[in-house]
């Protein structure tokens, strides 16, 4: 028996992540009693979920069995954008994961704080408000707003 991560995703958007036991010999995944009870309850009002598990670093589809357990199906292959017919002229790096988006949001907010400090420091150190000084302050203010909004958008808690 091994412990694997199991993901239950409903079409409504609700996602449940839990740990389950995986028997390599039987090729089956046994969810916890608690998860089975939750799935039974949700089956009354929700459409059947897509269930997958991370086994040996590969996401595999799980097929529901009548006894409440799951049999291991085929690995889930995520088609890339080109295969889906969505060609982009510029493609720099792979699509970001949720964690990468979170980190980018934090980075943006670090820039926000740095710009805010620069804005205040510049303001207090400026004695004569020339056009260049005003332009710099305006640019810093724009950076503060831009990085804050982009950062919040990037970590929207999905």
């Amino acid at each position: 028996m091994e412990i694997v991560e199991i993901f239950v995703e409903y079409p409504s958007g609700m996602t449940i992540t839990d740990r389950a036991s995986f028997s390599r010999d039987a090729d089956q995944v046994y969810p916890s009693e608690r998860l089975q009870a939750v799935l039974r309850d949700f089956s009354i009002t929700e459409a059947p979920p897509a269930v997958s598990a991370a086994i040996d670093g590969v996401n595999v589809q799980l097929d529901a069995r009548t006894d409440g357990n799951f049999s291991v199906g085929v690995p889930i292959v995520v088609p890339n954008d080109e295969a889906a017919g969505d060609r982009k002229p510029v493609r720099l790096g792979k699509a970001w994961s949720k964690d990468q988006r979170q980190q980018f949001g934090r980075f943006c907010h670090a820039l926000t704080v740095a710009s805010l400090a620069g804005f205040v420091g510049y303001w207090h150190s400026t004695s004569s408000w020339t056009a260049a000084a005003i332009l710099n302050e305006a640019a810093l203010a724009a950076i503060i707003v831009l990085t804050f909004i982009v950062g919040m958008d990037s970590m929207n808690g999905e």
């Binding site: 954008d81 699509a95 980018f104 710009s115």
Partner: protein, 39 residues
């Protein structure tokens, strides 16, 4: 061009790249959850 404008241009470029890659990531996640081709 002053320091502020240079910083603004750099930040705008970083943000544009980040937004683009974040959207690609969200799209890939959606595609993984609800594939257009039934599994």
């Amino acid at each position: 061009m002053g320091f502020g404008v240079v910083a603004l241009v750099l930040t705008a470029a970083i943000c544009a790249y980040g937004v683009h890659m974040s959207n690609l990531g969200r799209k890939a996640d959606r595609e993984r959850r609800h594939p257009r081709v039934p599994r």
